[in-house]
């Protein structure tokens, strides 16, 4: 901890789910932070944050137990309900067109409506995604987003997570299986510097889950059981669940599995830090440079798109455009904003594009059963990244002729 690159005197946020790992994390961070007249404190303050996922996952209310645990260290616990990802009056993104068979595109439009409570919006968001594997991903990324937002609003410059090595190994396998290999180095790094304003720390990434459990026992730490979406479900119900079973099973027969997988991942680089890599609107991860066309080249699912490189059809816009500018969405407004309909797929990483496909398949299934299709609903933060990316795209277009580009 002392050696981290987080500057002395900065505030940090500790993610606290209440499970075994984050319980150990909390214990040690608090001990590290305790007042000691012989040495200076490294951090100026701690924010301890718990994201309450009960609106989606269900389960008992542990808030009071968690609060008393944190208070026993003399800190206070910030409890953020997951539905807060939909702010009170802020925008939500709702699908405008029903998904189309041959291209992976999702046209969404920013709407500001107060219809329905935050919990309802959140539940609609999860229902529309359909498959459990995607829901798990979404749950993870929304939770992380809330941690980031809390960290920013409390002026923290780092987020500390309790991922242990078993968790990291499972995560490596799931990320690879979901086509997220490009961002894998960031998901396992002990200090990830991908986000410009927040550093992500994983101090427990070399400790495996058995050691964590023992540590809890020896230190007499009390933790709570945190269910997830597939608790009590069959092994094959989701990718995360299957992978967890696979890795823990292998670990039983070959005790070096977890450390081998984790170590291999630690030293495998990708080009996520290359220039021009954009940030995914949903998961905040890097978008691999070939994210849009790669899939359509190798999985030809329609004849019309197989020959063209651009698979996006312009969405219907009210604004009439006199020049063929090629920008998706309404181009006549000086800076395109996300309140116009746009194709979200262009702003997603390869892994997050799977959401779109799952949502489309779900919609078809519901239609076949004669049910009512829930349009894809996404929280407002998605728009910020998109606005930024499109703003830059527009700026680039404006100054395009004055930029000197290499021929190579």
């Amino acid at each position: 901890m002392r050696a981290t690159k987080v500057g002395v005197g900065k505030k940090v946020l500790v993610g606290f789910s209440g499970g075994l790992s984050s319980r150990v994390l909390l214990h040690h961070i608090c001990a590290f932070h305790a007042v000691d007249p012989r040495k200076n404190r490294k951090f100026s303050g701690l924010t301890i944050c718990h994201v309450d996922q009960r609106a989606i996952v269900g389960g008992e209310n542990h808030t009071e137990t968690l609060r008393s645990i944190v208070e026993s260290y003399g800190h206070s616990l910030a409890v953020i309900p997951l539905e807060d990802i939909f702010g009170d009056d802020s925008r939500t993104f709702v699908q405008t067109q029903s998904g189309n068979e041959d291209t992976l595109s999702l046209h969404v439009k920013g709407v500001t409506s107060s219809a329905g409570s935050k919990v309802e919006k959140l539940q609609r968001c999860f229902t529309s995604i359909g498959k459990l594997s995607s829901k798990e991903d979404l749950l993870h990324y929304l939770t992380m987003q809330l941690l980031y937002e809390t960290a920013r609003s409390t002026q923290c410059s780092a987020v500390i997570l309790g991922d242990n090595s078993t968790r990291v190994a499972i995560r490596v396998m799931t990320q690879i299986s979901k086509g997220r290999g490009f961002s894998m180095p960031l998901d396992v790094a002990s200090e990830s510097t991908w986000l410009p304003d927040l550093m992500l720390l994983r101090p427990l990434r070399d400790v495996d889950s058995k050691e964590i459990a023992l540590c809890n026992q020896y230190e007499n730490l009390k933790s709570v059981h945190v269910p997830n979406l597939t608790t009590g479900m069959p092994v094959k119900s989701s990718i995360d669940r299957l992978t967890e079973d696979f890795i823990t099973g292998l670990q039983r027969d070959f005790p070096s599995t977890v450390s081998t997988v984790a170590r291999t991942a630690f030293k495998t680089p990708t080009r996520w830090n290359a220039e021009g890599v954009e940030r995914c609107a949903l998961c905040n991860g890097p978008i691999p440079p070939d994210a849009i066309n790669w899939r359509s080249r190798h999985t030809v699912s329609s004849f019309s798109t197989s020959t063209t490189t651009s698979t996006t059809s312009p969405p219907p816009t009210d604004a009439t455009c006199s020049t063929d500018c090629g920008i998706t969405g309404s181009c006549c407004s000086p800076t395109p904003t996300s309140s116009d309909p746009f194709d979200l797929a262009l702003h997603l990483c390869y892994g997050c594009q799977n959401f779109i496909r799952d949502a489309r398949d779900e919609a078809e299934l519901v239609k076949k059963r004669g049910g009512e299709v829930v349009p894809v609903t996404l929280p407002g933060y998605v728009g910020e990244t998109v606005d930024k990316a499109r703003g830059r795209e527009w700026m680039r277009k404006e100054i395009g002729e004055f930029l000197v580009e290499d021929d190579e």
């Binding site: 068979e101 498959k131 594997s133 490596v172 396998m173 990320q175 690879i176 299986s177 979901k178 086509g179 997220r180 290999g181 490009f182 894998m184 092994v235 094959k236 119900s237 989701s238 990718i239 299957l242 992978t243 696979f246 292998l250 599995t257 081998t260 997988v261 170590r263 291999t264 991942a265 030293k267 495998t268 680089p269 990708t270 080009r271 691999p288 790669w294 899939r295 080249r297 190798h298 999985t299 030809v300 699912s301 329609s302 004849f303 197989s306 390869y350 892994g351 799977n354 496909r357 398949d361």
Partner: protein, 364 residues
């Protein structure tokens, strides 16, 4: 109610595509299947006009379909390639002898000349004899090392510019997972590359890199291609089995998982060092030529020569354990290394001396 095809919307859908779940008709299936392979070939610029290309043919489903698709695409898109079939006879009774019959039938069907190279002929040992010597364990090491070299030697004899193999998407995804599980960092960085090419050897590529195994079987089934489908009798490989089972489960949860894994794997790729070049980071490994047979090697001797020496001296563990240690243990024993593999540079000579080599095997 018959469902219309999701692609052409006219014909009746007869199959559900494993890769996408779309219900499509037979003709559309052929079209997408072949187009994807064509895309792979074009995007990666695998071949140049006028090249001679050997199809590594085992007689199994992958290589049978590969031979069919390569001939079809070569005609349709006019690649201008000269195709050959190249088979390796490991000498496994009840397995390879039967599958080679399939390859011989393919030779007739597609009118492509066939060349068979055998372990017996190259190394003086058939797999049956090797298994008798080393037992059921580790025999895949011999087979794998020998086959790699046998294919390259066969390609030199055929004087081809390129070898294509039938590795499919499932195989590659499985290899990515295996390399992670085993912690094989350097293999992880190269296992997804579509072709391997060094200055010394003939480039090899995998046109089926993005093609699902299930679709290959489906293609063979609807096209009524006959292939040989028996597992190798010496093949049980427990650890790989875990990865395979896991991959199949993943595929059943999300069909795109296989291609997603390949997508992930491609981002781990790094450029590989060329012959004589040092690896980045100052590693010791340099690609050089084997002192005994001239094949590329990372040590003084290539793996095949070490394994062969072990077999000939009755020390089959020589190439499997720590080589130096085993050599020390057996110091003073007979140093007769027995028969060696013909030097690589002599292969070209053999070829010019017997120009009718290809045709003579074809006639048999």
């Amino acid at each position: 109610m018959p469902r219309p095809c999701a692609l052409c919307a006219t014909a009746r859908a007869v199959l559900k595509r494993p890769k996408t779940g779309q219900q499509i008709c037979k003709d559309c299936f052929y079209a997408v299947f072949e187009t994807e392979i064509h895309n792979t070939i074009i995007d990666n610029a695998l071949f140049k006009r006028g090249q001679k290309v050997a199809i590594a043919a085992s007689g199994g489903k992958d290589s049978t379909v590969l031979a069919h698709v390569m001939t079809t695409l070569n005609d349709r898109y006019d690649y201008g390639l000269d195709l050959f079939l190249l088979s390796v006879d490991e000498g496994i009774t009840g397995y390879r002898d039967d599958s080679l019959e399939t390859v011989k039938r393919n030779e007739q069907q597609y009118g492509i000349p066939l060349k068979i190279v055998s372990y017996q002929e190259l190394y003086g040992w058939s797999m049956d004899a090797i298994v008798k010597e080393v037992g059921m364990k580790n025999n895949c090491t011999f087979c794998g090392v020998f086959r790699r070299q046998a294919l390259d030697r066969g390609a030199v004899l055929l004087n081809v510019d390129h070898i294509v193999t039938g590795h499919n998407a499932d195989d590659i995804a499985e290899t990515v997972l295996m390399n992670i599980l085993r912690g094989d960092f350097s293999r992880l960085q190269r296992c997804t590359s579509i072709s391997t090419a060094t200055d010394e050897t003939i480039p090899r590529s995998k046109p089926f890199k993005y093609t699902y195994e299930k679709e290959i079987v489906m293609y063979a089934y609807f096209k009524k291609l006959d292939y040989f489908s028996t597992e190798c009798i010496y093949s049980p490989n427990a650890y790989r089995g875990y990865a395979r089972a896991f991959l199949k489960d993943l595929e059943s949860i999300r069909p795109s998982a296989i291609i997603d894994i390949i997508h992930s794997g491609e981002h781990f790729e790094t450029p590989q060092p060329k012959l004589g070049e040092k690896k980045e980071g100052g590693g010791e490994a340099v690609i050089r030529s084997c002192e005994r047979c001239g094949y590329m090697a990372s040590n003084k001797l290539c793996k095949a020569c070490v394994l062969l020496e072990g077999l000939n001296r009755g020390l089959p563990r020589l190439g499997i354990g720590v080589e130096g240690k085993i050599r020390r243990q057996h110091e003073g024993k007979s140093e007769d290394i027995g028969r060696t593999i013909q030097h690589f540079s002599e292969l070209a000579v053999t070829r010019t001396l017997t120009p009718n080599l290809v045709t003579s095997t074809t006639a048999s």
